[in-house]
């Protein structure tokens, strides 16, 4: 009887050890938080070269600028809230404007107020109807890159620092190639 009890206890102990081993194995498969991967990827199925038929009054200055970046955020997108907070560190970004897509305008207004985004030109796009109709974009976060109101690029991105630095590199490359082309013309 005693031997039986001892054997049962031993089996139970082994079973519990195995159970914890399985839990540990599962836990080890969850990736440890490490350096965050940064990325910026072009959006597919967007019509580059497009000029919107109309601009909301809040974004009237965008087509007048040589270079603009319109950030498309949404109130239902969790990472967009992180980008909203990031924008506090980018108040010097003169080219930036915002479109906040939302199911209800009041939610977007609360979003703008919460993150202090009033200093950026911004448009509350109820239902996401405007950005979907004009740019075929229904996702966030997205950065629309425009030259004099013409869409020249659309990207999803991990963070604003990465987005801004890579767009800056692109702009430098474009201006360098433009300068080279002008030199060639002068030479000819």
């Amino acid at each position: 009887m005693i031997v039986l009890l001892s054997a049962v206890s031993l089996v139970l102990a082994i079973a519990i050890v195995v159970l914890f081993a399985m839990m540990g194995e599962l836990a080890s498969r969850i990736p440890e938080p490490g350096p965050r991967r940064t990325w910026m990827e072009p959006i597919k199925d967007v019509q580059l070269g497009r000029i919107p038929e109309s601009w909301p009054p809040e974004l009237a200055q965008v087509p007048e600028r040589d270079h603009s970046v319109v950030l498309v955020l949404s109130t239902v997108c969790s990472s967009c809230r992180a980008h909203g907070a990031e924008l506090e560190n980018h108040t010097d970004w003169a080219e930036a404007a915002l479109v906040v897509s939302t199911p209800v305008a009041a939610n977007a207004e609360a979003f703008v107020a919460e993150f202090g985004l009033g200093s950026f030109p911004h448009y509350v796009d109820e239902g996401g109807d405007w950005v979907r109709a004009e740019f075929e974009v229904a996702s966030s976060p997205v950065a629309l890159v425009l030259r004099s109101g013409r869409l020249v690029g659309a990207y999803s991105f991990s963070d604003l620092d990465t987005l801004r630095s890579r767009l800056h590199e692109q702009l430098d490359r474009i201006e360098d190639s433009r300068a080279d082309a002008e030199k060639e013309v002068e030479t000819v």
Partner: protein, 118 residues
């Protein structure tokens, strides 16, 4: 008398052997459990949600909490619904559907649904 004493001594010896066995087995079990807990029992780090109060994070969507999840087809067929895609990372995204929001916050929301793809 001597046989009684001998029997008594045998009995005491038997009891001490029994106690020793029990103690050994208990120690073995407790030691195994403790070792297993120390080596394998790790709690994964908590994930901080970006979603505002009153909503819960599902994939990368902030959905109104306290509202029953809906079947995806029901949500996208809902009369007043909001459909949007959020990027989890460069390779995966989720489609967020919210049905019935009419006045702000989560008031009027009758259901929501999420569909994520890698």
């Amino acid at each position: 008398m001597s046989s009684t004493r001998e029997a008594h001594r045998a009995g005491r010896g038997g009891k001490s052997r029994l106690v020793g066995r029990r103690g050994f087995m208990s120690g073995l079990g407790a030691g195994g459990l403790t070792t297993a807990i120390m080596i394998f029992g790790r709690t994964p780090p908590a994930h901080a949600s970006h979603c505002p109060p009153g909503t819960k994070e599902s994939g990368c969507c902030c959905l109104c909490g306290g509202v029953d999840g809906m079947a995806w087809l029901d949500c996208v067929s809902c009369g007043t619904h909001y459909l949007w895609t959020c990027q989890v990372d460069s390779d995966s995204s989720c489609r967020c559907c919210e049905c019935g929001n009419s006045s702000g916050g989560c008031s009027g929301v009758s259901g929501n649904s999420v569909r994520c793809s890698a």
